[in-house]
Structure formats: C-alpha cells, structure tokens
C-alpha cells in the first residue's frame, strides 16, 4: 500500500496524543494528577495538540476536506466514522478534564468524571483507528489479530513518553505515583514485543488467495501469469495498492525502528528516571522524540509492506 505522509502522521501523532490522554485520564480517575496549574495546561495542552494535529493531518488525505463533517454520520457500520466520533468526544472530555484540573485542582469529582470519559474515549479512539485497517480482508498484513494490540501498545508507549516528558519539565514527575513510570517502561517493552510478534506472524501467514482464484480458474489451471496489462501506464489503483519501492529496504527499516526503540528510548528512559532534574527532562524528551520517530518508521513499513489482493491481477502469484 502507498505510504501516504498524511496517514502516517495522522496515526502516529493522534496515537501519541490519545495515548497521552488515556494516561492522564487514568491518573485523574485514581487521583494521581499533580496539583499544579501549569502542569495541567502543559500536559493537557500538548496531548490535545498532538491528537488534533494528527486529525488535521488526516484531512490532507481527503480529496474533499470541506465535506469531512459528513464522516461523522456512518458510525453504525464504518470504523473510520466511529474513529471521528470517538476522537471529537474524547477531545471534549479531555478539554473539560484539563480545564477543571487547572482551575480547581486535581482532587475534584469533575476531574475524575471527565478523566474517566477521557480514558475510555481515548481507548475507543485508538481501537477504532486500528479497526479501520484490521477490518480490511483485502490486506492480509492488516487483517489479523495483531493490528489492534500493536496500535494500542504503540499509542500507550508514545503517550506515556509524552506525559512523562511534560511532567519531567515541570518537575512534577517525582510527585506523581510511581506506577506511571513503571507503566511507561512496561508500555515501551510491550510495544516492542507486540510489534516483533506481528512481524513474525506476518512472515509465517500462508496466503489465502492466488491468481487462479482471482480470475476464477481454481482447479482449472495450474498456473496463471499476466500476459498483457489492461493499460499502457500505471493507474491510480497500482499507485495506491501496488507500492513496491520500500520493500527492498524493509529489513533495514525494521532494524532502524527496533534500534530506536531498544537502543535509544529504553536507555534514555532509565537514565532520565535515575538522573531527574533538567538532565532527566532532556533525556525524557529525547526518549519521547525517539519513540515518535520509531513509530513513524514502523507506520511507514505498516503501509509499504502491506500487500493488497488486487496485486493478484498485476503479477503477484499469492496474496
């Protein structure tokens, strides 16, 4: 599949943004938010800004962005529509949570209630984003049980990194419950493990369709190969569904993504937690940026490596 920049930015940024909002929601429900107005504005603001930036990036993928409001209407059947509805509802709850936290402090029922809404809404949004891809039978690399766990784990990891980086800068990380830092470490490791499992599973999945099945010759022909294409130059369909450029570099890019996660993010995190202060904040920011960069690479591969069934009509023997 063609790795469109708008969609890679959308899924990466909104994943981190809603992941961060989920962690803030969890802290709000458990009464663990630090009692500091500046922290409230910065943590809530950065998280919401990431989510909104991602959603705005997604509109650049539309040929008619002025009609984007119509995408809220088909939540009964479409995961893309559900994603839109959940994201706007979650942003509403997050705004209420942040405003109440900044103005009345964290220990109020409004913060807890809005936090619960933010937590559940953010989870629903990330699951909906993943389900957009997971529900497409035509793309086997997405149509499997790993897509949703990977999106959730990557959102949880990048979201936790963002929240901890903001709290480190305002000097409130040490005052928040220790389970936040532990949860961040667990989320980063979980993201690395689930993605490795997904890559491993993708390499072992047997293709369900072949060219004979695509042209209705199952049992009638032993082999079917393209002789002449219907057109003399590439069509939109091939550009969109038969992207091949990146596959040559796939193995290298997988190592880049894994290295960013393992060799940069994890050591930086551990050092940041140990050092604290300004150095800790800098290291934590480095870890957050490294995590986002790793997810950008991962998301690019998610699209570039995915094979669409329609390639069976253009030379692929099995998909």
């Amino acid at each position: 599949m063609f790795p469109a920049r708008s969609i890679i930015l959308f899924t990466t940024l909104s994943g981190a943004g809603f992941g961060a909002l989920a962690w803030l929601g969890l802290l709000a429900v458990t009464g663990g938010l630090p009692a500091d107005g500046l922290t409230a504005l910065l943590a809530g603001g950065v998280s919401m800004a990431l989510a909104v930036a991602g959603l705005l990036a997604s509109t650049f993928h539309l040929r008619h962005p002025e009609r984007a409001w119509r995408a809220f209407s088909q939540w009964r059947t479409s995961w893309l529509s559900r994603e839109g509805v959940f994201s706007v509802a979650t942003l509403g709850a997050a705004f209420a949570m942040t405003a109440a936290w900044a103005s009345c402090g964290p220990a109020t029922w409004v913060v807890a209630a809005a936090g619960l809404g933010t937590l559940l809404g953010a989870l629903a949004t990330v699951i909906s984003t993943a389900m957009i891809y997971r529900s497409l039978w035509a793309i086997p690399q997405w149509f499997n049980g790993w897509t949703v766990p990977v999106f959730l784990a990557l959102a949880a990891a990048t979201g936790a990194l963002v929240v901890c980086a903001v709290l480190a800068w305002t000097g409130t990380l040490a005052a928040t419950p220790a389970w936040l830092a532990i949860g961040m470490l667990v989320a980063v490791v979980a993201a690395l493990v689930t993605k490795a499992c997904a890559w491993h599973a993708a390499s072992r999945t047997a293709p369900a369709s072949d060219t004979a099945s695509a042209v209705g010759l199952t049992g009638r022909a032993a082999s079917v190969h393209p002789l002449e294409a219907p057109h003399t130059s590439e069509t939109w369909l091939q550009h969109e569904m038969a992207y091949r450029v990146a596959r040559r570099h796939a193995a290298k890019l997988r190592r880049v993504a894994a290295l960013l996660g393992l060799a940069l993010v994890l050591p930086a995190l551990l050092l940041a937690l140990w050092a604290g202060g300004i150095v800790g904040a800098l290291l934590m920011s480095l870890a957050a940026l490294g995590g986002l960069a790793a997810v950008l690479v991962e998301r690019w591969l998610f699209f570039a490596e995915a094979r669409h069934k329609v390639t069976l009509y253009y030379g692929a023997q099995q998909v």
Binding site: H64, R67, S81, S209, A214, H225
Partner: protein, 246 residues
C-alpha cells in the same frame, strides 16, 4: 446509510464468458464512452496525450497466460465491480456516499457525498473502484443504472453499455437472484464461478470458465502416419504437397 440491505428484491449483475472473450477491449471502451457522456460527471483522464497517459476506467481487460495439463492457453479477463452482496466497500464508507440499492443490489456512489478518502477502494479485493483524480471522488461501475432505469431508451438498449457492445456475446446481463432467469440458467449450465469466493464478499457477478479444449478429444494424427504420396491430389495442390514433402 452504508448499512447493507438484508436482502435485495433482485440481484442484477453480469455474467462474463471467459470462453468467448477475445480481449478486444470493446466493453472497456464502450463503458468509458457511456460514462464519459452520460448522466454522471465525466471520467477524467490525466495527461491523455502524454507519455504517461492515465485515467479513470470502470472496466479493465487483462490478458493472462494460463496453463493446465494440456499446455498453455490465453485468458482474456474483463475486471469490473461484482456488485457483491456483502460489499465491504459500502460498509467502510464514513459518509454514506457508498450504498447498495435495496431494489436490485446495484452498488453505487453518491458523488456529492464522497470525500475522496479512498478507503472503499482499499476494502475492495477486486480493484473495482478508481479515484477520479481531477474530481476527487470515487468512481465505479454503475451497471449502467442510467441506461437500465431510462424508460426513454429502446428496450434493447436498457442494458449495460459493455453488454450491448460486446462483439462476441461474451457478456450477459440479468437477475442472478432469480434461478429461472436466462443468465442464472447460463451460469448453471456452464458452471459459472464467483471470483475469490474466500473473500466473503459474496459477489453477484459470475464468470464462465473456458470450456475444455477439444484438441484432446480428436487429436491430430502423428506427423509420420500422414499419407503423402498414395492419394496425393493433382495439379497445384499436388505440386505444393510434393514440394513440402521433399
């Protein structure tokens, strides 16, 4: 709404005979012509006179080389929307632009509602939908709804342009939901198949596989056994026969 109708009164669709199709692309050209000039907006072309001409087509004719135990054979394969019963392109649509008509099962796009996100084209395993790059909306086979619904056309013209134009009679149109209909009977007689049945999309269109070749039923006699001299014809043919046998 992008919810699929539970059942449709009719299941209008195409039956394509892969035995008769000669790969002439007349159906694709007729489709392009009708949908370029009909009730819907034109199907745009990009760079139509340049080196990399490209454009939106609702019907594409592929040619394959297939092999079985008797050797190879050419397979000409027109590919267009199959008007699936469980059309995933319809349910993924976030705006309600894609829909399946409850009356006859035709899958259509309301171009005024389409935001051009392209998700429906991703959802279709058959590559039936193409983005119109100049209008920014999704295009697909309408089964020439604007012909079959049009009471002003002569009755014989109220069928899809591709069917009307096919010079070998390889394309058939009708109600595949009615087992008594002519095309349902054709499908039954010829063992018509759905493409990629494992998709779960339940396509309406059927493809008739090529007939078993006759070559093995009456094989040519081996070359050495052919008599050359005893009953050779006279005159020019006899001379030709002698020259070629020398």
């Amino acid at each position: 709404m992008t919810a699929l109708p539970a059942t449709t009164a009719k299941k209008l669709g195409l039956v394509i005979d892969l035995d008769s199709c000669v790969g002439c692309h007349a159906c694709a050209v007729a489709c392009k012509q009708w949908n370029d000039t009909g009730a819907l907006a034109p199907l745009s072309d990009e760079n139509p006179y340049g080196a990399e001409a490209s454009g939106t087509w609702l019907n594409r004719v592929h040619s394959f080389e297939a092999r079985d135990d008797q050797g190879g054979f050419a397979l000409h394969f027109p590919r267009s929307c199959l008007h699936c019963e469980n059309a995933p392109c319809v349910t993924v649509c976030p705006t309600g632009a894609s829909y399946k008509r409850a009356a006859d099962g035709i899958v259509l796009v309301d171009e005024d509602l389409c935001i051009g996100c392209g998700l429906c084209a991703w959802a279709c395993p058959y590559g039936a939908r193409e983005m119109d790059e100049s209008q920014g909306v999704m295009k697909k086979c309408t089964l020439c709804a604007d012909r079959i619904d049009n009471q002003h056309l002569l009755p014989q013209d109220r069928e899809p342009a591709c069917v009307r134009t096919c010079p070998t009679g390889a394309r058939h149109f009708g109600d595949l939901g009615d087992p008594a209909s002519e095309i349902s009977q054709l499908v039954a007689a010829r063992g018509g198949v759905a493409l990629m049945p494992e998709s779960g999309c339940a396509p309406t269109n059927r493809y008739l596989p090529p007939r078993e070749r006759r070559s093995h039923a009456s094989p040519l006699p081996p070359k050495a056994a052919q008599p050359s001299q005893p009953d050779a014809p006279d005159g020019f043919l006899g001379w030709l026969d002698r020259v070629l046998s020398a």
